[in-house]
Each structure stands twice: as structure tokens, then as C-alpha cells.
């Protein structure tokens, strides 16, 4: 009980701001990993929150938001090595894709964003699938950066005799339009060399999409079916059970 009270007071002082800097830094680091601690910090933040009722708002300089947006762009385009922010980074990549496809009219895609966690072994590749709704096919896509191998597994997608699925890659370096990686085979396989022309840095930043196309792939060189995006399917072991 005494220990618990002591921790409670440590958290309270952390929120108040008076915790000595070494203890403060330790809590700053720990709260990211420890949901119970995070919850208790939020409780104390909520308790003391009304103190700021007495603080007068101050209008920021007109250029500040522009600076924030530019910093956001910079962060957005640099690779993110913090595993905890994968999901956010994925959303951002999706968003970028979505913007440009909106401009290029309704491209028909199952969007698949891929992000690898840089400092970890390539087997830790982070993967996600976005799908529009349960009616739409979804895929899991993994990219092994080192080997430049792409592996696609269907989640709810089924092979269709009269349609082909086609994988696309999009990256700033490749210009505004998606580029075809290849048309998937009956077992959702791709040519082993499909990614060999792309360097790992580009792959790390790239967004992938899968569209439903006429047999043999898009006749136009660009995706032709309606835009789809949605659910995340991380490849981590504990997430496997969530897959339908």
C-alpha cells in the first residue's frame, strides 16, 4: 500500500511538473510501454486540468501553423523507426495515396500499405491491409526489404476466374501515378523478381495497392476499379487470430 501510494504521489508530482528530472525522464519513457501507468497519469492530468481555466489564451503568430505543416511533411517523408507509431505512419501513407488517387480519378484499389520496422530483422516486416468494407477483398502483403521479396496472402479475397488482381506500387520517386508491380497468379503469387528493380529505401517509403482488373491486368497501365481502403491486419503473431 505504501509503495502504491508512493507511486501515486510520484505520478502526481510528474503531472504537477515538480518530479526531479531523472525520475521524470524515467516516467516519460515508461508511460509509452505501460498502459496501467499511462492510465494513472491521465487520471492525474484530469484531476489537475481545471487549473488552466485561469490561463488566458494567447494568439500564436500567423506563420506558426505553416511551420507545423512543413515539419509534418518532413516527418512524413522520412522513415519512421519507432515501432509504436507504425499504425499512424501507415495511415499517413494511405492518406497520401488516397489524395493522389482522388486527383487521378477513381482508381480501383484495395490499398495495402507496407511499412517495415527498420532496426529489426527483416522477418519483422510490418504489414497492413486496407479494405473498404467486408464485401471487398482484403490481402496481407509482406515485403522482405533485404531480399526484395513480396509475399501476398488473401485474407478475405478469393481468386476470380474472370478477373485478375494487380499489385501497384507508389512512391514519390516514381512520380504521381501508381506503377504496376505485376498481375497476381491463381495462388496470389508474383514473379520473384517483381521488386528487384526497386531499392530498399524506396520500398520502405512506398505504398502498395491491389486493384481488381480484367483478366491479364489493367489495359490502361493504371488501376481501373473503384477506390477501396480500410482495415488493418498487422502480421504480428498475436494478431493472427483476428483474421477471418
Amino acid at each position: 500500500m505504501i509503495e502504491r501510494d508512493d507511486l501515486d504521489m510520484q505520478i502526481a508530482e510528474y503531472v504537477l511538473g515538480t518530479l526531479p528530472v531523472d525520475e521524470r525522464n524515467a516516467l516519460n519513457a515508461r508511460r509509452e510501454q505501460d498502459p496501467a501507468l499511462e492510465a494513472r497519469i491521465l487520471e492525474w492530468e484530469q484531476r489537475l486540468a481545471d487549473l488552466v481555466d485561469d490561463v488566458e489564451p494567447v494568439e500564436p503568430g500567423p506563420e506558426l501553423f505553416g511551420r507545423i505543416e512543413r515539419a509534418l511533411e518532413r516527418n512524413d517523408s522520412s522513415s519512421n523507426s519507432n515501432p509504436g507509431s507504425n499504425v499512424v505512419a501507415l495511415r499517413r501513407q494511405l492518406n497520401r495515396w488516397r489524395w493522389s488517387t482522388a486527383v487521378a480519378s477513381a482508381a480501383a484499389l484495395v490499398l495495402v500499405a507496407v511499412l517495415t520496422v527498420q532496426p529489426q530483422p527483416s522477418s519483422e516486416s510490418f504489414v497492413a491491409v486496407f479494405q473498404h468494407d467486408d464485401q471487398q477483398p482484403a490481402f496481407l502483403l509482406t515485403v522482405d526489404l533485404e531480399q526484395r521479396q513480396v509475399n501476398i496472402r488473401p485474407v478475405t479475397a478469393e481468386a476470380k476466374p474472370d478477373k485478375s488482381y494487380q499489385l501497384w506500387i507508389k512512391a514519390d520517386e516514381l512520380g504521381p501515378n501508381p506503377r504496376s508491380v505485376g498481375v497476381l497468379g491463381d495462388q496470389f503469387q508474383l514473379d520473384e523478381a517483381a521488386l528487384s528493380q526497386y531499392d530498399p529505401d524506396l520500398l520502405r517509403e512506398a505504398t502498395f495497392g491491389i486493384s481488381v482488373e480484367p483478366p491479364g491486368g489493367s489495359p490502361t497501365g493504371q488501376p481501373t476499379s473503384p477506390a477501396i481502403h480500410g482495415y488493418l491486419y498487422p502480421t504480428g503473431d498475436d494478431a493472427q487470430g483476428d483474421n477471418p
Partner: protein, 186 residues
Amino acid sequence: MQSDPSTSTAGISKLIARVAQADRAAFSSLYQATAPKLLGVVLRILNNRAWAEEVIQDAYLKVWQKAGQFDEDKSSPITWMVSIARNSAIDELRKHPTGRTVNDDQLDQVPGGQTTAQQQVEDQQSVNQLNHCIDQLEKERQDMVRLAYLNGWSRDDLAGQFGQPVNTVKTWLRRALQDIKRCLES
């Protein structure tokens, strides 16, 4: 202010939810609705405009990153955002404790032996349950809590100002926080 839906609690929660989906327009609206409050809070801690704006920039980048973690069952949206900004400001201040003294007028003595910061905390107090609870504390402890929270004073700053050993300050602060918690729960 109250009638503008984007500045209501529910409105800000919705904006944060959209920011979690990387919605840049929502991010802009969220900034418009909240930045003046956040800057007010940070500026009072750092007491230096350029520095405070840097911290605000950093805080909004964190808001962008962490929007998906916001849980409206656990925090009010403005508290969540203010806490991100306050936390950044205090981290900065602890990293560069001399950064603020250059422009600092908080420690200037005013007649009556009080600092301007102390005067400030006494002048403006909203009627809310928290202030009611703080007002139950002994006078010095009230000031300590407010100077720490609102002005970012460390235990050392408080020890110097109140002429007490740092350990006494620690004990007083913890008792004060304990009392506040009990009072809020009663």
C-alpha cells in the same frame, strides 16, 4: 465561443478522431480551435515567445502522431492536448533551466514580498471544484501547487522562493496533492 461547434468538447473530440485518420483539414481546424489556449499555457511556463512557439510546434506534431491513442473515456480532449503541450514545455524547461531566466520577470520581487508570479496566481482563479479544493490547503501550499503547475516551478525554485529545504517542499507538495485528490473524491 461556446456556440462554435468546433470548440465544444464534442467538437474537439471529433476533430481528434479525424486527425487520427490523417485528416489534414481536421488538423488545421483543431489547431485553430486549441492553439491559443495551448500557447497561453506554454508561454506562462517558458516565459519566452519564440521558445514557446517551438514547443507548440512540437506539441502539435505529437498530437498528429498520437491522435489515435486519444480516448475520450479517459481524458477530456482539451485536457489531453494541454497535457501534451505542458509536458513538452516542462521537459524543455528542465533541459534548459536557464532558458527562461533571461527574460524572466517572474522572480522579480514586488512590494509585499511576493513575486509577480505569485501575484498572478492569486489574481485569477476560476470557480471550479479544483480551485475550491486547493483553497482548502494552507496558503503556502496553495501557491506552491499553482506556481508548479501553471509556471513550471521546480522543487528547487519553490525551495528558494519559500525558504524551505527541498525535501520539505517535496513533502508539502505530496501532502497537498494527496489532500486535493481526497477533496475531489469527496
